[in-house]
Symmetry: C3
């Protein structure tokens, strides 16, 4: 079985694939960070959605008042959902793009701009920056994904 493992390792040894692995892990970790930011705001703003989450604040009405929405919590949640909507396409299309044999330089350019755009988008959403800051950072990540999709379809199209 060591022969098979060697072949698997070759995939992770390929520079384009390593770059994909690196930037995909970075943007997924960044997305996971949104869960911690949501939890932080829920606890500091005392704004919860599940009755069992407020049980430590006492029983009945004294705990019930913490079952409410908070603008900061909702803002982080919208940023998190926007990550899902944009990082899922990157995850899938980026993998296929990495396997479609792009030049290393071109691939790195795509991955770096996408990761930078999504990190910028998070800052633009959470600070928040005035528009079109958030719109532009979103559009850049979107355009990079479309560009990779174009490469995948022109390389691999089989309908």
């Amino acid at each position: 079985r060591s022969g098979e493992m060697a072949k698997l390792t070759q995939l992770i040894d390929n520079d384009v694939f390593r770059a994909y692995a690196t930037y995909t892990t970075i943007v997924l970790l960044k997305m996971m960070l949104m869960s911690l930011v949501t939890a932080y705001f829920r606890m500091t703003r005392k704004a919860f959605v599940n009755p069992e989450d407020t049980a430590s604040f006492g029983k009945g009405e004294s705990a019930k008042k913490y079952l409410r929405t908070d603008p900061d919590v909702e803002r982080v949640r919208r940023g998190h959902l926007n990550d899902l909507e944009n990082i899922v396409p990157f995850l899938g299309i980026g993998l296929l793009y990495a396997l479609s044999g792009p030049e290393l330089y071109t691939a790195l350019l795509h991955f770096r701009i996408f990761a930078g755009a999504r990190i910028a988008h998070t800052f633009a959403y959470l600070i928040p920056l005035p528009q079109p800051g958030r719109a532009l950072s979103w559009a850049v990540g979107y355009a990079v994904t479309i560009s990779m999709a174009y490469k995948v379809l022109t390389t691999a199209l089989y309908l």
Copy 2:
């Protein structure tokens, strides 16, 4: 390193994998389109959720009235979330299915029906079509994914 790249390219040269790459890219692009449709409805219906998005409409109360929900915007957002809930399983299970050595004809049948069902689901949701139009298109995509999961588990099961 050209030897490694050649091996990578073999993956994208495999017909089943090319079909997976093609249909996955199509359904992910379709899902990404939902972001544009949401933005279109937010702007034409003037229904926003972030205060910074309405700043161009003026200050204070004149802009605040555009911070509201709109039925058309919410409908597109539900369609988008339904895409996420169903296309993420296709992305993962479909990849493993493509690597599990299915017949090309069978694989194409799965991928084509899934993509068709998700496109039909979007039309059924946005027009909207009377039920059970949307329910049926959802169920067809769901059943295709279950069928691929069955093939993956019978081929690769290692608990």
Copy 3:
């Protein structure tokens, strides 16, 4: 082309990759189950969100009263979204981890604990269990994903 197919099959023949395929399919199927639970609660609680979904209950006001939110439906939907937020990172980081050449024993430990944690999280959310039941099951899955991300970045880092 049978040579290429053989190479593809070697991927699914690798024990670590087979384990990844198995547990990924299991957690994705578990996530898909949330759609059925949502539909079940929507129908038994008669709580719908789309007007076309209540058409079978009659016309006008008699059907309109079923366009409402229900605590049980909303609970399942939150569990479903939490699945998306946590299983998407597992899908991507887990794949890269499986390709980074981990020991079979270590890989199985990661995959089994993650799958167990997510199944426990679903029960904790839907029953619901008192906290910190849900928080702990969430944190365990989160920590496993971070551990896999660490392995990927130390093996494949290419910035």
